[in-house]
Amino acid sequence: MSDLLTIGGRTFQRGTKDFVQFPVLLDLDGSQIQLTVHVLSGARPGPRLAVVTVLHGSEWQALETSLGLIEDLDPSEMSGDLVVVPVANPIAFATGTRNIIDESDSPDLNRSFGGRQTWLADQLARALVDEVLSKVDAVIDFHTGLWGAAMGSVTCGRDFSDPSVSERALGMALAFGMPHVRRGDLATKFPGPASMIGYAGEKLGVPGIISEIGGVGFAPEIEQSWVDTNLRGVRGVMKHLGILDGEPEVADEVLVFDQVTRVNPTVGGILEPIFPPEGLMRDIVEPGQLLGRVWSPYTFEVIEELRSPARGLVDMVCRPYPVRPGDWAYLVIDLDSPTNYTLKREA
């Protein structure tokens, strides 16, 4: 059996960097929706890692990560393959929306894996499974990066039927290099195996992590720092898997957490942050601390205050922007949760 990777009918030779575009579906406007998949085929055989961005159409900042990886990495230095899907959801990306705008019952591509229908999202998910997920050994899914809000952590699953998948996913998450990892039930709870990472782990036995680091609409320097963190993180995972030489930079102590509370508005208005973006996953807030407020764009009155529910780290920050009820504002990690634990790096 050949150790060469074939995607979309194209076989990628060792030591090359190239891409393939293959059709997925024909839409009503006559456009042939296709997926573009880049393959950085290492000079030597080895593990295969997939990087998938823009599964949600509005979460486009991670494009800087996927395109940066394609540009920066040298296949001659790789043992194994990096498969990059810069825009996994070209339909929603074109409309700048999280979901595909159709009257389907599966508009969210990241809730459509395993779908058996012929809706647009179902067909895209199947193409991703058939041509990418089923051909790799690990996957990283990038989220966040929509206008107005930013996140700061990496997530992996702990409840896959095959415990080794959960353990391998944790190893990837640690190799990403952050001093905190969210470990949740990605197979048995929301969104379950209908999400890409849930499906890969549960149905294909492929471990994966979700990077939700970054956001757009902030100062250029802080946005670039998030992109740099993601680029370093992928390289760390590639080292962990043996695709790149060297050891990943794992934090000396890693907080593993699972209790996160959304602190999002219940009303529409202009969100005015009090907690600064620079404090993302750095500053500890106290219970009841004011994180932000919402004021009416009609009367300028403050109509809601957003306060921390716990002593915690803030895993989502925002900038001033118009919000509807439920829109992204803050996430707080409960630092006093009994389910938290700390992993210390062995000397």
């Binding site: 891409f19 486009w60 074109a94 206008w147 609409g217 802080i222 202009i270 300028f300 001033p320």
Partner: protein
């Protein structure tokens, strides 16, 4: 000149008071009454009635906070005349952060349907705005632009209003103190008499300006400066209208021009900007590479965006995904045949 009090939506607001008035517009299919909110700050002394509109296009919400800050600067005990702020002229479009009302109408764009003759939601909003707000105004400023990703600094003055209205509007635009002022046919050209400015200047015969300052997605330093710039500009306008005292005139250069070029992409992709928000109002020679559009799928450069003429940058953009025609760059021609520089402060 206005009386000491003003009546909005059937509510009388006395001199020296600030009040928010909700003007009923219609009831939507969701069963919820749609209202237009206006905030009136009535001075203790009579004077002009300045109406300030924001978010006539739902995606252009950047000026809302500027107007909030402006109101906080006003001292009603010394204010002469009335300031009426309509912070959100298009609530349904703001709710979706889209330029237009997402309905299957043939008049989805509020700024193309004044005075709102039909019964679409958009027409009813504009009708209420025209009937209850603009009819009371002696001067109007309509704030536009400021959607995510692009930023503007420009004023639009109609050259085809009645001569005395055009002259007064141009005076006020110069007093406002923004570095670039476009003088163009509004009633007979773009955006036409069915725009807010075209209607106010051309039909109501009051000085009317479209002001575009700032944009969202550039960080607190630049955005905060643009908000303050807007507040300062409106205060200079109010001084020119005789409504307030003690305002320093603008001392910078202004380009008064007639010809502007949109330098927007012909393809969709990821805009790589070389002239971000900090480059607004800089002079660019013809041929300057302003930015590139790269494919988000392959990383290839799909299009280069270059300045078509020697000019001043009217609008700029950050890196962001952009469709064909999306806002990238605008250049005002500095050809002496169609433009002139005005130096220093002017006492209008």
């Amino acid at each position: 000149m206005a009386n000491h009090s003003i009546i909005l939506g059937g509510v009388e607001i006395p001199a020296g008071a600030r009040a928010t008035v909700s003007i009923p517009v219609t009831t939507g299919l969701n069963g919820v009454p749609l209202k237009l909110n206006a905030i009136a700050a009535v001075g203790s002394q009579p004077g002009e009635v300045l109406t300030l509109l924001s978010t006539l296009h739902g995606g252009e919400w950047f000026s809302i906070n500027s107007l909030r800050k402006l109101l906080d600067t006003l001292d009603l005990s010394t204010l002469r005349g009335t300031v009426i702020v309509v912070p959100v002229a298009n609530p349904p479009a703001l709710a979706r952060q889209k330029r237009d009302i997402p309905e299957e109408t043939d008049s989805p764009d509020l700024n193309r349907i004044f005075p709102g003759p039909l019964t679409w939601t958009s027409d009813l909003l504009v009708s209420a705005l025209s009937r209850e707000i603009l009819s009371k105004a002696s001067c109007m400023v309509d704030f536009h632009m400021g959607p995510w990703g692009s930023t503007f600094r420009d004023i639009l003055v109609g050259s085809d209003f009645a001569p005395e209205v055009t002259a007064r509007t141009k005076e006020l635009a110069i007093a406002l103190g923004v570095p670039s002022i476009r003088v163009a046919k509004i009633v007979g050209g773009f955006p036409g008499p069915r725009s807010s400015v075209g209607y106010a200047g051309g039909v109501l015969g009051i000085p009317a300006l479209a002001v575009e300052i700032g944009g969202a997605g550039f960080g607190p330093e630049l955005e905060g400066a643009w908000e303050q710039e807007t507040v300062d500009a409106i205060r200079r306008l109010m001084a020119a209208l005789g409504m307030i005292d003690g305002v320093e005139p603008y001392r910078g250069r202004r380009l008064v021009y007639q010809v502007a070029h949109r330098v927007n992409p012909g393809v969709g992709g990821l805009l790589r900007s070389r002239f971000g928000g900090d480059k607004l109002s800089v002079e660019v020679p013809a041929g300057t590479l302003l930015g590139e559009v790269i494919s988000p799928y392959t990383g290839e450069v799909l299009e280069q965006l270059k300045a078509p003429v020697d000019g001043v940058l009217l609008y700029a953009a950050r890196n962001y995904p952009i469709g064909p025609g999306g806002w990238a760059f605008g250049v005002a021609s500095t050809d002496p045949a169609t433009s002139e520089w005005i130096e220093g402060s002017l006492n209008v």
